[in-house]
C-alpha cells in the first residue's frame, strides 16, 4: 500500500493498521495463504521446570524461521517446586490477556483512538481438588476467568467498552479458551 506524503508515516499506538487491512484484503483474495500452523517445542529441565521455545511457523504458503523466544514454566514453592518460571496455567492467562491487549490496541487504532495506557488484570479461579484427583466432579481447568481492563484514552466509556468487546470478538486466544478444541497427543 502506498503511503502518500500527506499521510503521517508514524502509526498511532505503534499499530500499522494499513498493513493489517492490507493483509486482510490479500488473504480475502487468496484464502489458501491464510492457513497457518503455529509450533513450539518443549524441553524438560528438572522437576516441574520446562522450557518451551518457538523456532518458526508456517503461513502465507511457506515456513518462517524465528528464534530467541522462549518461556520457562514451573510450579511455585508451595508445590515443593523450584519456581523457575510462571505456572503453565499462568502462561495460558498470559496468552489470553496478551492477545486481548493486542486486540485493544489494533481496534482502537483502527477507530482513530490514541491510547495513553492500557493495563489488564486477569484472574482465573481453580479448584485444586480437580487436578489432585480428590473429587471427580471438579474439573481440572478454570471454573471461571475474569479480565479487567483499565484504559486511559481520549474516548468515552462506551467507546472503550466497544473496543474491548470487539477485541474479544477477534481474539484467537479468547476463542481458544471459551470454545472446545480437539487435541491429539502422541508419544
Amino acid at each position: 500500500m502506498t503511503v502518500t506524503e500527506s499521510t503521517p508515516t508514524t502509526p498511532v499506538n505503534g499499530v500499522n493498521v494499513e498493513a493489517l487491512l492490507g493483509a486482510r484484503q490479500a488473504l480475502t483474495d487468496a484464502p489458501e495463504a491464510a492457513a497457518f500452523t503455529w509450533r513450539a517445542t518443549c524441553d524438560w529441565v528438572l522437576g516441574t521446570h520446562a522450557r518451551t521455545e518457538v523456532q518458526g511457523f508456517f503461513g502465507l504458503g511457506q515456513e518462517h524461521e524465528r528464534s530467541g523466544h522462549s518461556v520457562d514454566t514451573d510450579h511455585p514453592e508451595i508445590f515443593a517446586s523450584a519456581d523457575n518460571g510462571m505456572t503453565p496455567v499462568e502462561a495460558v492467562l498470559s496468552g489470553l490477556v496478551g492477545c486481548l491487549t493486542a486486540g485493544v490496541a489494533s481496534v482502537a487504532t483502527n477507530r482513530g483512538i490514541e491510547l495513553r495506557s492500557v493495563k489488564a488484570t486477569v484472574e482465573g479461579d481453580m479448584d485444586l481438588q480437580g487436578i489432585l484427583g480428590i473429587d471427580g466432579d471438579v474439573r481440572n481447568g478454570f471454573n471461571g476467568v475474569r479480565v479487567d481492563f483499565d484504559i486511559d484514552a481520549d474516548a468515552s466509556d462506551e467507546e472503550i467498552a466497544a473496543i474491548v468487546a470487539q477485541s474479544q470478538k477477534r481474539s484467537a486466544v479468547f476463542d481458544i479458551v471459551t470454545n472446545p478444541t480437539t487435541v491429539t497427543v502422541s508419544a
Binding site: P31, E158, A161, A162, A165, Q166, Q168, K169, F174, D175, V177, T178, N179, P180
Partner: protein, 439 residues
C-alpha cells in the same frame, strides 16, 4: 448441448414470484420491457408453505410500499401474518397484472453468449437477453455441519419445517440462534411450557418500541434504512448482519434475552461443539450480550440525538431504555441424553446450483455489485443490503427494483454494463454511519 424443443423468446426472465420478482415485474412493465416471472410454486410461495403459524412481518403495515401499490388496510401500525403477506402479494400480482408462470422450477440458466441466455425449467425453456434472480434470501435454511454428530433419537428441524409447538417432539428443546426466528420460536415454545435452552451467538438487540414509536419508524426517520451499500464501511459484514431480535406481535411486546429468561428459557452461549458425551456451548456469552447492549445503546443514543436536534421531544414519549441484559450463570455443557429436539435457527444460505459457476464466489454466493452480476444483463434482487439497508424488506425491494430496471434498460439500449454505483457527489456519497455501527 443441443436443445430441440422450441424455446419461448422474451427480453427478460425474472426468476421468483415473491416481493422482489413482482416489484421487478412492475418496474420492467413501466419501462415497457417484455418479460416473464417464473415461480416454482404459487406467488409468495415461501410465505404460504415455509413459515411458522405465528410469524408476522417484523415491519409495521405502513412500511409495505411496492412500486404501484402499498398497504391501504385499516391497521397501519399492525404487523401482517404470513398468510396476509401472501394475500397482499397475490393482490399486488393482480393489481399490476404481472405475467407470472406458476409451477415453473428453474433447473439451469445457461449463457449462450454474453447477453444471450437460456433458462431451463420444468415447464419449458425461455431464451432471453436478460435474467433477474429474485429467489429471495430466506429459501434454504443453513444447518451447521455439527448437526450430523447429534444422536438420531434427537428430532432436528429448521424454521421452514416448524409450524407451532406441536411440531416439536419432547419436552427439552435446544433452539440454536437468537435472531428473529430463533428468539421468536424459543419464546413460543417456552410459553407453551417446554423446557427451552437458547444458544445465543451474535445478535442484534432492538426494542419493539422506543419513546412510544415503533423501532422501524425511528430507523426509517433517521434514514438508516435508506443507507446505500456504497456508504457503509464494511459491506461484506453489513450483508452478514442477522435479522433484528424482535417480534411483530399485535401487543408490541418486547423480545430479548431478558424476556426469554422471564418466560422460563435458559440462555447459553453459541453452540460450539457436539461430542458423544456433550453438547458444548461457548463461554463467550458475556461478551455476546455486552456487544448487543452496546450496539443497542448507540442506536438509542442516535435516536435521542435526533429527537433533540429536531425538537421532536414534545411529540414523542420520554426515553424508556430497556434494562441491560442479565444472563444467569450459563451451563457450558449439556448431555445429548437431556435434549429431545434441536431447532436450527441458524440463518439461510441460498443455493444457486442452477446458476453458472463462474457467477458465484467460492462459497456459492452470487457475485454482484449492488445487484449487477458479472454477466451483462444479469441481475440479482432481494438479498440483504443489496443496495440499501432495507433491500430484503418488503418495503425496501421496490427502490432496488427501480434502480436495477434503469440499469437493465440502459444496458439493452447499448449504454454498456458499467457499475451501478451512485455517482460521486450524488445521494450515494460516502458518509460515516450515523449510528457508528452496522446494525
Amino acid at each position: 448441448m443441443t436443445h430441440h424443443s422450441a424455446a419461448a423468446q422474451v427480453t427478460t426472465v425474472i426468476i421468483g414470484g415473491g416481493q422482489a420478482g413482482l416489484a421487478m415485474s412492475r418496474a420492467l412493465q413501466m419501462a415497457s420491457i417484455d418479460h416473464v416471472v417464473l415461480e416454482r410454486g404459487q406467488v409468495a410461495n415461501s410465505w404460504r408453505t415455509e413459515r411458522w403459524d405465528s410469524l408476522r412481518l417484523l415491519t409495521p403495515n405502513w412500511m409495505t410500499r411496492l412500486p404501484g401499490h402499498r398497504y391501504d388496510g385499516g391497521d397501519p401500525e399492525g404487523y401482517m401474518t404470513a398468510a396476509e403477506t401472501a394475500a397482499f402479494l397475490d393482490h399486488y400480482r393482480a393489481v399490476i397484472a404481472a405475467p407470472v408462470v406458476t409451477g415453473a422450477t428453474v433447473s439451469a440458466v445457461e449463457i449462450d453468449e454474453p447477453g444471450r441466455y437460456r433458462v431451463r425449467t420444468t415447464v419449458g425453456d425461455w431464451r432471453c437477453r436478460s435474467v433477474v434472480v429474485a429467489t429471495g434470501a430466506c429459501t434454504t435454511p443453513h444447518v451447521p455441519a455439527l448437526a450430523g454428530r447429534l444422536p438420531g433419537r434427537i428430532q432436528q428441524l429448521t424454521p421452514t419445517a416448524y409450524r407451532n409447538p406441536d411440531t416439536v417432539d419432547g419436552e427439552r428443546v435446544l433452539v440454536v440462534g437468537a435472531s428473529a426466528g430463533g428468539a421468536q420460536i424459543a419464546d413460543e415454545l417456552a410459553r407453551a411450557g417446554r423446557d427451552v435452552t437458547l444458544a445465543a451467538g451474535n445478535h442484534v438487540r432492538v426494542p419493539r418500541t422506543y419513546r412510544g414509536m415503533d423501532i422501524h419508524w425511528w430507523m426509517d426517520r433517521l434514514g438508516l434504512l435508506d443507507e446505500r451499500w456504497t456508504e457503509v464501511d464494511d459491506i461484506v459484514r453489513a450483508r452478514r448482519t442477522p435479522s433484528l431480535q424482535v417480534v411483530g406481535h399485535p401487543d408490541r411486546r418486547p423480545l430479548d434475552l431478558n424476556t426469554l429468561q422471564a418466560n422460563g428459557a435458559t440462555v447459553v452461549g453459541r453452540l460450539a461443539g457436539v461430542t458423544d458425551a456433550a453438547v458444548q456451548f461457548s463461554g463467550s456469552l458475556a461478551n455476546t450480550v455486552t456487544s448487543a447492549d452496546l450496539k443497542l445503546g448507540r442506536l438509542l443514543d442516535a435516536i435521542d440525538d435526533h429527537v433533540d436536534a429536531t425538537g421532536l421531544g414534545a411529540e414523542v414519549a420520554a426515553p424508556d431504555r430497556p434494562a441491560a441484559t442479565v444472563v444467569a450463570e450459563a451451563p457450558l455443557l449439556r448431555s445429548p441424553a437431556d435434549i429431545d429436539a434441536v431447532l436450527w435457527a441458524t440463518g439461510y444460505r441460498p443455493h444457486y446450483t442452477w446458476l453458472p459457476e463462474q457467477l458465484l464466489d467460492r462459497k456459492g454466493a452470487i457475485v454482484h455489485e449492488g445487484g449487477v452480476m458479472a454477466a451483462p444483463g444479469m441481475y440479482v434482487l432481494g438479498l440483504p443490503f443489496l443496495r440499501r439497508r432495507k433491500s430484503s424488506f418488503l418495503d425496501g425491494v421496490g427502490p432496488d427494483a427501480l434502480d436495477l430496471a434503469d440499469h437493465l434498460v440502459g444496458w439493452l439500449d447499448g449504454r454498456g454494463h458499467a457499475s451501478s454505483r451512485p455517482a460521486p457527489g450524488g445521494p450515494g456519497i460516502r458518509r460515516s454511519d450515523p449510528v457508528g455501527v452496522a446494525l
